[in-house]
Amino acid sequence: MEKQFEEKLEGEVRIEPRDWMPEAYRRTLVRQISQHAHSEIVGMLPEGAWITRAPTLKRKAILLAKVQDEAGHGLYLYAAAETLGVSRATLVADLLAGKAKYSSIFNYPTLSWADIGAIGWLVDGAAIMNQVMLCRTSYGPYARAMVRICKEESFHQRQGFESLLVLSRGSAEQRTMCQDAINRWWWPSLMMFGPRDSESTHSDQSMKWKIKRMSNDELRQRFVDMIAEQVKVLGMSLPDPDLRWNEERGHYDFGEIDWDEFWKVVKGDGPCNRERLETRREAHTEGAWVREAALAHARKKAARPADAA
C-alpha cells in the first residue's frame, strides 16, 4: 500500500480521503490544514477592528466582504481537515487551548486605517504566494479548497493596493500614514514564509510528500521581487536599507529578518497573542447557547410528526 501511495505521488495523482496514506502524512496534513484554517479565523480579528471605523461606506462594504471571505476560507479548510478523520470540535478546542498555532502575522495590531490597505497588499499578497503553490498540493481536498480560496483572494490583495494608492495620492498626512503602515507590516510579512530553509523542521518531508512545492526561501524571494517593484507605483519605500536589485542573481537582495522577534511571536509573546486568543475564547463561550439551542430545536423538530411542523 505504501508503494501505491508513493506511485501516486510520483505520478502526480492526488491522494483522496479514503486512500491509504502513511500516518505521518495524515498528521502533517491535519497540523498544516488546521493551522491554515485557524489563521483565516484569527485573521478576521485585526481587520474586524476597523469595520466600524472605515472612512467611507464603500470601504466598509469592501472590508465586510473581505472579512466574510476569511470566515468562508476558514470553513473550507476546516472541512478539508475533517476529511482526515479529525473532528471540528477537536480542532477548535486545540486552538482555544493555545495548543494549535496560527499565522503569527495576526498577532500584530492594526493601528491606523492604512494598516487595512497594507494587510491586503502585503499580508494577503504573501499568503497568496503560498496558496497558489498549495493549489498543486498532493492531498485532493486541500488542493480543491486552495483553488477556491485563490479565486477569491485576489480581490483582497487588489483592494488593499488600491486603498494604499488612494492614500499615497492624498494629503501629506495620508502619505505619512501609508508609509508608516508599510514600515510596520513589511518585516512581519516576510516572516510569514517561515524560518529559513536550513532551519525549517517540516519542510524536507513536506516537499517529498508534495504537500509543499516550493521552499520557504524561494517563496519569500518571489514575494520580495514582486513587492519591491509594486512599491514604486505607490511612490513609497520598503524599510530595508539592504534592499537592492542584484543583476547577477536576477533577484532583489534584502536584509536579514529579526529572527529573535520571529521566534518570540511564534512562541506566544507577540504584541497581541493573548488578546487574539482571548477574543476567540470569548466568542466561542458566548456563542455556546446558540449552538446548543439550534441543535435542540432541530432535534425537537425531527421528533415531531411531519404534518405538525
Binding site: 468562508g72 472541512a79 478523520g85 473532528s87 479548497a145 432541530a298
Partner: protein, 123 residues
C-alpha cells in the same frame, strides 16, 4: 501536538463503517456537534449539481442557508442540494481495480474502435 484521530473518515466521503450498510437515521445521542452535510451546487440552469464541499449545520434548512453563505457569495449557484454526509454510500478505493475491471477490456464501446472509410469518418 497530539490530535485525536477518529477512524471514522467522513467529510469528503463518509466513514467506512457505514459504507455499504444501512445509513443510521439518528444522530449519535451524546453528540453536541452539529452534523456534517455535503453541499452540491448547480452553477447555472442546464448543468448538473456538483459537489463543492461540506459544512456543519443543525438541520437541513440551516445547511442550505449556510451553504448559500459559504459557497455562493459570488453568484456561484442557482440551486443548492445538501445531504447529511452519513447518508452517502461510496465505493471502496481499495477495491477500485476489480470493481471497475468489467469495463477495462471493452474497447468496442468507444467510437474510435471502428475504422471507417475516410469519406464518412466524421460519423
Amino acid at each position: 501536538m497530539a490530535f485525536q484521530i477518529r477512524r471514522l473518515l467522513y467529510g469528503d466521503i463518509p466513514g467506512g463503517e457505514t459504507g455499504g450498510g444501512p445509513a443510521n437515521p439518528q444522530p449519535a445521542p451524546d453528540s453536541s456537534e452539529w452534523p456534517l452535510w455535503e453541499v452540491f451546487i448547480r452553477s447555472r440552469q442546464g448543468l448538473d449539481h456538483k459537489h463543492v464541499g461540506s459544512l456543519h449545520a443543525a438541520d437541513a434548512r440551516m445547511a442550505v442557508e449556510n451553504a448559500r453563505d459559504v459557497y455562493t457569495r459570488r453568484m456561484e449557484g442557482v440551486s443548492i442540494w445538501v445531504v447529511e454526509s452519513r447518508h452517502i454510500h461510496a465505493s471502496q478505493p481499495e477495491e477500485a481495480g476489480p470493481f471497475y475491471d468489467p469495463a477495462a477490456d471493452k474497447a468496442y464501446r468507444h467510437p474510435t474502435f471502428y475504422d471507417l472509410p475516410k469519406e464518412i469518418d466524421h460519423m
